[in-house]
Amino acid sequence: MRLTGIRRFHFARDAEEALSLLAAYDGGAALLAGGVDLLRSPRGDIEGVIDITRIGLSYVRESRGGLAIGATTTLTEILASAAAPAYAGGLLASALSQVAAPPLRNMATLGGALVSAHPWADIPTVLVALGAEVRWQGEKVGKAPVEELYGTAFRGLFRRAVALEVVLPPWEGAFAHEKISRTRYDIALLNACCGLGLDGEEIRWARVAVGARPNRGERLPWAEEALIGRKPGGELWNEVQRLVESRVEVGDDRRAGAAWRRRTAGVLVRRALARAAQRGET
């Protein structure tokens, strides 16, 4: 644990109380969900910790064909829920079970993952690919697509607002997530999440997102356009693989080089497309 300056601990009773406590500390407090990130952080400015895990935000509900997931729902609770396994062709079951290891999934919450939004993480890539929306309560109640939020200074927002719920829209079709890491426990060197909806022999809609580039997961609209209206199959996946290799924006970090990421991004997208198409058929 690196967060060593804690002087006071509060269990918020509801989002309003969490917000008024945040305001009272004037920047010297933080919301605590799973704590997996917060308590690892070396921030020296946090005196007050406000636990929001007991304010009724742990649930997974079916909502208009999609899912509504409370912000403090742990990854394990999502995996164990009745509604999640069937959603988007089983995407959540396969993607979340590749996140960290069981003890961390027992602690980490979806809201915490959304707010931390590590560039190497799988969850932001999945949320962006799915077109997830987040609802929050701050000075006012707000909502926005996660993809749009990530284009803004969202961390500042969540120092003054409580993320309440993540809404995953309905998709007629299937998604698949691919992660490549050095061991099954390690964080991603690169990840990709793709979804496809078929209309007979044609692809009706497509979603392609790549993350850990090393930047955070983003959609590749030009790859999606290249898929729509086309006949699914190995030839098309290979074509999109080459397209991704030629256009994806990647970089170097201490974990992997840009040249490797460029080649591998194409491979991961091809695999995710093939798997999504296969899941969509069953």
């Binding site: 804690i6 690892r40 910790v49 895990t53 290891a101 027992n106 426990y185």
Partner: protein
Amino acid sequence: MKLSFELNGIEHYLDVEPGEPLLSLLRRLGMKSVKEGCGTGDCGACTVLLDGRAVRSCLMVAPQVQGKRVMTLDGLGTVNDPHPLQEAFLECGAVQCGFCTPGMILVAYELLTRTSDPTPDDVRNAIAGNLCRCTGYVKIVDAVLRAAEWKREGRWR
């Protein structure tokens, strides 16, 4: 601040510092099976069960367990009266220096409370976040599979 929680079946009421890591509190209460390896959630040596689920006690502060049940390895079995899972670790040679062992046994215990018939891959997934520098993991996987076999045979309590 005041804290009440159940530790290995016994209710505790005590005063804690709001920022005290759960790991330190547990060791202060004599639970020396809870080890600090990395202190940042990466190694699994500090694993305990919270309401039956494995968690990292180095990434929790003591007040988070208010009203909850904590189990450490000390609550599973003792030297004189080991749990079958502990016996399986010994029988299979899955313990060398022993530093990772409490955490390994507790994640395995969580797995085996949910299934009595895990595949070797289920076991590898369950222990994936617990690092061992000695055994090479093979004997740990063997031990968990052996314990599962004993559970199916009704030899667990």
